[in-house]
Symmetry: C2
Subunit: 420 residues, 2 copies
């Protein structure tokens, strides 16, 4: 039953699934719940900032023309007619010889055109009436933060697609976005296949291993900003398996199966694609790990058959699934960010196919360094735990030495880039 | 009522709060809920990996001694006595001249000591009995993944304090950690002060601004892995404000107030510390922004008075609060990661005090670059949205030029470092 498979280059595989990308939906959520979601609309200044002329200091608001005669030995006195704190609104207009005591951030009273800092003023009382005097000339506009001097009304502040971090949230609050329009999380289904799989809470049995891929993929889906739904493990029976897959497709935007795609006698997935009538985009990729990755289209949904091997499964998700999720979430930079780095230790293996080595990126003296995060055996699951990057070693290369420059894909970066 | 404040160096301020750090608590949670939590115990291999000798290929398990006479023109035949898939357990022991058909990952049957790849075997039937033949000599142990060859039982896999990413979760699942012991999230209270503050859903009014700091801080708390509780805005009345603070202390591990710490006439916070009998650790720091940051100890809890200025508030949280939260979460590297970077544009301002410039770090050709993420006016809130780093410009420096090497603190990094 082993079918002939033709491996295609990684870039071509990515292009084929990328053509199938779908725009996502949007929803409004409370600002308190918007952390790490992506904006589904531009955030625009709903008012100028500041929205009124304000004082940068604690001090006094006065008319600059009243200080024209002031000098080191010639104090000029002002009658303090009002005292306003931040958030209090001035009620009195200033006239000649009058001053208003003002706090940092408070609105400038009508009539005033400059602020003197509290520290340079003398204050005193006369008949219980407060006064102040200064010995300096002031200019019109001095120490006044003008309305709109920081942000003009209508200005584009944060573009659609941006992930909401603490700073973005502050902007949303400032401009009154109590409800935030965000991209709805796409839903990705997970189905595990493999009769060798035990549940995580089962005792180990001879010849069996616990199902780690379903948990790992769920976590990758969550990290990418989407929601997951786990449909359990396929039974070792074709019709029941077909039914499970068919029904799951109805509840998700994308369905991932792990395992069941190698050329083994007990693998149902190719037959399930056949019976669904799904169009197979590719079923073999010229890469390691993950060569037996399959992608297929069924209606407006995508089906991925990722390898049962943990590293292959992990890489398959990041390369082929994550970009489409990012697109659906309005991320303008849906692909993993790729940077150059200096290899810290040799990687002597030849690479007949493009190899994605789970790696750890570190920084030293302004440079980016990278080293494999574990032995590169395809079944060693622990090295994934320390991976924050995938080193990309092009096919046809004959090994790399310490000090060589290599490219790495950053796994924990939220910004991404526009192309693979 | 303006009191005399003595600014202390940033490092000393950090040391003073760091001395007040408290160990956190732990809890067990389901593996499905453990993303981004931190391990509160070492993860240890509960069994060797693989837990049984297994096959790396689809092929046949045989006895190598039976192939000793094999050669290019001398095929050796085997009777195929069993056929096992991954997860199926071999039931028959091999004897001379016998083979077992085996799938990738399946357990090696007793008696066999090597695996031949399917592709190099000839298969045929004789009287409905399957046979296979090969033309190569095999070595004992060839193509067998030995029990424990990847991980030994009892091996430390992931140390306590590590944040749970998809790879860590895969390890947890593999070793049967259906419940995971994690650090309990500390609870941080937030109280806003300032009569000028409107709620986010209120219409703008003259002289007022919306409360953005409470939302921003909540988001910073969430990003740091802790939980927040928002107690609203203090009333403009001392006794009521005191009561709010006093009661809030009971429900949180750390309490943050924003605003109300500058030397203005309407600021209650110093008087509230007084009445609580809280020990003030510092109330002024030689830094920009954020010089009017206060920290105080009340019983076994910490009180922070962060500036009402958004940038100062943001920086104050990251420098003084986050490390203690990370410690409570068992992070062995509780301080923001500090790396060197090349400044992309000049920063001509002199720095009488240490300055933390909200900045954006980028990567090019293996090097780390940094540039300020906005105008460095203390009230410009939008630049925080684009900040993924804080550039650290030491006090006493006279401005920096493009191309200079500077230090930056990475805000979105999860790994951190052991010291400030």
């Amino acid at each position: 039953m082993a079918e002939l498979r033709k491996p295609i280059p990684v870039k071509e595989a990515i292009d084929r699934v990328w053509e199938q990308r779908r725009d996502g939906y949007t929803e409004y959520i409370a600002i308190t719940d918007c952390d790490n979601r992506r904006l589904a609309e531009d955030v625009v200044a709903s008012h100028p900032v500041p929205s009124f002329p304000k004082s940068p200091y604690d001090g006094f608001a006065i008319r600059s023309e009243d200080t024209q005669g002031a000098g080191r030995n010639q104090p000029v006195s002002f009658k303090v007619i009002e005292h306003i704190g931040a958030g209090q609104v001035p009620e009195k207009q200033l006239h000649k010889g009058e001053a208003t005591r003002i706090m940092t951030g408070a609105q400038i009273p009508a009539g005033a055109d400059c602020i003197t800092m509290f520290e340079i003023c003398q204050t005193y009382e006369n008949d219980e009436q407060p006064y102040m005097s200064i010995k300096r000339k002031m200019d019109s506009g001095q120490n006044i933060i003008e309305e709109g001097s920081e942000v003009a009304k209508g200005e584009l502040l944060i573009p659609k697609g941006t992930i909401i971090n603490p700073g973005v949230k502050a902007v949303l609050a400032t401009f009154g976005y109590s409800e935030v329009k965000v991209s709805k999380k796409p839903v990705v289904g997970i189905i595990a296949t493999g009769t060798e799989l035990l549940d995580v809470d089962e005792e180990l049995q001879p010849g069996k291993i616990r199902n780690s891929n379903a948990y790992m993929i769920a976590s990758q889906i969550t990290r990418s900003g989407a929601d997951y739904r786990y449909f359990g493990k396929l039974k070792d029976e074709f019709e029941a398996s077909y039914e499970t897959v068919f029904k799951a497709m109805d509840e998700v935007d994308i369905l991932i199966t792990t395992g069941g795609v190698s050329v083994g006698d007990f693998d149902f997935m190719p037959a399930i694609y056949d019976k669904l009538g799904a169009e197979v985009l590719f079923n073999k990729v010229a890469m390691r790990p993950g060569s037996v990755t399959t992608a297929a289209v069924f209606g407006d949904k995508l089906l991925y058959g990722l390898s049962g091997n943990p590293s292959a499964c992990y890489v398959g998700f990041e390369l082929f699934v994550r970009p489409l999720l990012q697109h659906s979430l309005s991320n303008q930079n849906p692909f993993l960010r790729r940077v150059k780095a200096e290899l810290l230790e040799e990687f002597p293996k030849a690479n007949p196919f493009t190899r994605f080595v789970r790696s750890s990126v570190t920084y030293e003296n302004g440079r980016i360094h990278v080293q494999p995060s574990g032995i590169d055996k395809s079944n060693v699951v622990t090295s994934l735990a320390y991976a924050n990057a995938l080193m990309v070693l092009p096919g046809g290369t004959r090994g790399f030495r310490a000090g060589d420059e290599v490219e790495v894909l950053l796994l924990e970066d939220q910004e991404g880039q526009g192309e693979f």
